[in-house]
């Protein structure tokens, strides 16, 4: 079954957000509580920690047609689990370098650090990233079929 | 210990401090170190060039290093701490502003050359132990205070030698020749060298302080490793005495002269006659025939 987003008018694109429960998810809540207006393209998935973030999730989303992927967590040093986001940062950096190999524009991927109180910052991150994705336009999809599972071994 | 290194005397040591140059040469010779003067060396620019732009100073000093490199040397030794700083600065500027430096110098330069002072050579490469074993006339019973001056060990990251607050190299060399070495609190205080000519009130005050402290700790002489310090303490001692109404008559000897003398080198060859405050009485206590030393043991 097709998702709702796919059948929407042209101007709305599909952005998947992976947010850690303790900081950025709370930051997005704060932005909402403060009624900070944001573009509507983003859909958020809650994870306990950016350390939980398997780069494969982002790769799969992009391969299956998401137009952008945003990962956000606690500021380095503020991780609820002490070090999770250090691992995350390393993995995200590798991911960024890897995306061009499967023909995906690195501009479609971004990670950020936003704390639970930084509603304003969250609004800014969402605005900027949404604008960036709109500039890039809809994800054209992959030209070549690639073995997603195999790509795992690159990490 | 046959060893060949490049030698940079510098302007002071070929003029006012000629005895530092002489004593350095004869001492190294006696220790089996062959000094090869950098051919046609030029002034390193010293503080004045540095004050315009460290780049200018670096290029002037760099010419000497480039010549030494071309002659195949990997170590340059200089007795003068001010030249030491100038030469080391050249390497530093070369690392920081390579292109500007080379544009100015217009000579091939690799920057791999090591620059040391004669004090460093004596302390690290020869070692107090070696010197101790070769002493003929120990300075037993004589108190010599070690005065390093401000430049030899500071700033520590640049000097890469000894401790910046409590250096010991000169102390240990003096001890090696049998001298008593009192705790000298002004070891690294600045003597005002840079203003010998321009602001001699300042020099008078600072050197006076140094001499006073040396006397308080019971010094018979001051051992130095810098031509500018030496000049201020020795040549200007009379000015200090006028300024402070004191009657200092404190011999100021280069470390190369002290060691050379202890090793049995003729004082004439060490240039002690050129000192303004005569060290003769002190030297006579060490060796009665100080004017006619038998140098046969030097080999």
């Amino acid at each position: 079954m097709k998702s709702e987003a796919a059948s929407t008018p042209e101007q709305e694109l599909r952005i998947v957000g992976f947010l850690c429960n303790w900081c950025s998810y709370g930051g997005a809540d704060t932005a909402g509580i403060c009624r900070f207006k944001q573009p509507t393209d983003l859909r958020i998935i809650r994870i306990p920690c950016t350390g939980r973030m398997d780069p494969l999730f982002a790769v799969k989303a992009l391969i299956y047609g998401a137009d952008g992927v945003l990962v956000s967590g606690c500021h380095p040093k503020d991780c609820h689990y002490a070090v999770g986001n250090y691992y995350a940062r390393r993995r995200m950096e590798v991911l960024k370098r890897f995306l061009p190999f499967i023909g995906i524009d690195t501009g479609r991927f971004r990670y950020s650090w936003v704390s639970a109180s930084e509603g304003q910052l969250w609004q800014q991150v969402v605005k900027e990233f949404s604008e960036q994705i709109h500039r890039l336009g809809a994800n054209p999809g992959l030209h070549e079929k690639i073995d997603v599972e195999a790509s795992l071994f690159l990490f | 210990m046959a060893k060949r290194i490049a030698y940079y005397p510098g302007c002071s040591c070929s003029g006012m401090a000629i005895e530092y140059d002489q004593s350095t040469r004869v001492l190294c010779d006696a220790l089996g170190i062959e000094l090869v003067e950098i051919s046609d060396w030029n002034c390193c620019g010293s503080t004045p060039a540095h004050s315009y732009d460290p780049l200018l100073g670096a290029a002037l000093a760099g010419r000497n290093l480039a010549i030494a490199e071309a002659q195949g040397f990997d170590v340059v030794m200089t007795p003068c701490p001010s030249c030491l700083r100038g030469l080391k600065n050249a390497v530093k500027v070369y690392e920081e502003r390579k292109q500007d430096f080379l544009d100015l110098l217009q000579m091939p330069f690799s920057g791999r050359i090591r620059i040391i002072s004669v004090l460093q050579l004596l302390y690290e490469d020869v070692g107090p132990e070696t010197i101790k074993n070769r002493v003929q006339y120990p300075f037993t019973g004589k108190a010599i205070v070690p005065y390093y001056g401000c430049l030899l060990t500071r700033p520590p990251e640049f000097a890469q030698f000894d401790d910046p607050e409590n250096p010991v190299s000169l102390d240990e060399l003096l001890r090696a020749v049998g001298a008593t070495v009192p705790d000298f609190a002004y070891k690294t205080e600045c003597c005002g060298a840079a203003y010998g000519v321009t602001e001699n009130d300042i020099v008078g005050k600072l050197t006076g302080r140094l001499l006073d402290m040396a006397r308080r700790v019971g010094a018979d002489a001051v051992g130095v490793a810098c031509p500018l310090c030496q000049q201020n303490l020795d040549l200007r001692q009379s000015q200090v005495n006028r300024y402070w109404r004191t009657k200092f008559r404190m011999p100021i000897l280069y470390i190369t002269q002290v060691i050379g003398y202890a090793l049995g080198i003729d004082s004439e060859r060490l240039g002690t006659k050129k000192l303004f405050i005569s060290p003769d009485a002190l030297l006579r206590d060490i060796c009665k025939h100080f004017e006619k030393v038998d140098e046969s043991h030097l080999g």
Binding site: A5, E12, R14, V16, G32, T40, C49, D54, K60 | R216
Partner: protein, 652 residues
Amino acid sequence: MRIGVFVCRCGTNIANTVDTEAVANKALEYPDVTHATDYMYTCSEPGQQEIQQAIKEHALQGIVVAACSPRMHEATFRRAVEKAGLNRYMFEQANIREHCSWISSDIEANTRKAMDLVRMSVEKLRFNQPLFSSYVPINKRVLVIGGGVAGIQAALDCAEGGLDVVMVERESTIGGKMAKLDKTFPTIDCSSCILGPKMVDVAQNDNIHLYAYSEIDSVSGYIGNFKVGIRKKATYVDWDACTGCGLCTEKCPAKKCYDRFNEGLGTTTAINIPFPQAIPKKACIDADYCRYFTKGKCKVCQKLCPTSAIRFEMEDEIVTEEVGAIVVATGYDLFDDSVYGEYGGGHYPDVISAMQYERLLSAAGPTGGHIRRPSDGKAPKDIVWLSCIGSRDASVGRPYCSGICCMYIAKQATMTRDHLPDCNCYVSYMDIRAPGKNYDEFVRRAQEEYGVQYFRGRVGKIYPKGDRLIVQGADTLLGIQIEIEADLVVLATGIEPSDGARGLAEKLRISYDDYGFYMESHPKLRPVETNTAGVYLSGVCQGPKDIPASVGQGSAAAAKVQALFSRDTIETDPQVANVKEIACIGCGKCIDVCPFGAIQWKTLRDGSQKAQVLETVCQGCGLCNATCPPKAIQLQHCTDDQILAEVNALCG
């Protein structure tokens, strides 16, 4: 699975910008959804009842509520579904308020987004599994590491509450630094008068078992059930027999031993009781100095001891204790001032540290409380204190403020003026930091009533002149250089974590900062907890503090332990990692990354090694899950399948 979807209107909060009815209708098209409706206030009593009723009526097996943020009401709804007989993890909440209705006024776009969010929740829920907490019994004994004032306070508060306390102190007596102090700011109470009774209480309390002269060897287990190996270091004296009579210490011929208690002012004997009020008051031989150990001959103490307590053959011994919680109170050490060559600490005898000065002031100290300078025993006429030695100094790697020295300088200077009214006291300072209750008043008094001369500016150099010291400094308020001739210079050395703090942290699996101070779980809201459940902090081991703050934290840590022990069991959070043993290839990567040491090896019958998660220790971060190459380890309730289901709902 039969899924019910409830879309909340939140009054107008959601309904104003989301067509909730349309969202509910759309939900009926999603797989497994058998019931969907919208409701005015879902979290209200009637709202919850509506859900419970629907569960029964439609035999629902899973519930999705599309409403506010789960950070707001997830717990409420989980309880509600549980009451209706579902497992509480068969619930998902879609955030259509904070993440949707409130951040855009475009009704069409919001409605579309809400539909997506509900769909993602439904797809995730289809992979949910019932999860069950387990209950592990708590061993209601607590270990306190470090017997300074902070550890003593924690131990006494716990024992007061009826808990069994094990205290481990590495010196031969408890008391820590406070036992060395003479008087304490800001009230100038006598330190041993207020600490002494507490130390005695530790000795006399039946609930406290003290291991002095002992250290932590190993720690295993988890909250409620730690197993701790304690190394009892050899004292060469049988403490059950020793009565602390002190005969041995009087006659021991090895009299040139470094006196740790007196900070190296003076010497002591190889067999030694640190001070008269020591707890336990037992003798201990320092093998580095004892003639029998160094030269093979002596045994004078053995001949003298009336209770035959000396045991030269004694060796270190490891004992094991089982506890349910740990309080770390290992305090601090002082910065080594000899790093500053220009001040001559360790070189000039009359340049001493503030702790040494504290011993000079103490009536029980090496000078009997008379202020005498170490070089020649003369009473000083001019004393200079230098603040911030090894504090606020990036060039020696100590950029932080030690927090206590400004105050103890004021204390030492006023007390000096009391003891020696003719002695001039000078203090060099950069800023005066005295933010406690009655603290600034105290510093003002030092200046106004006691005539202590403060000058603002650091000191550049100290050097001897005759038998005095010249202190060369600057008065930056005047913009000039100044000189003071002094008989004695006191360096206010800063605080650093106690020696070995890092090693202990590794054993306890707690984190420490760049300097080795232990990290609290949250700098404001969880100041005595660590990120390792069941391990608490108190005193200076967490960061510079004075006595009131150390004691306060000791009590706070005790309160946390009491709260933990007020239950008989710990309910574990089942949202933890879990290993599918068949898939595990035994690579050990998960063990390496887990920040909490929650994974260990398990050997199967065929001898193969598999990872195994300690449910009670796992905090549910998921780092292992993301790391595991064959994805054998999965974080329950947030598995790869569940996350990918959400991704697929959007992009598939």
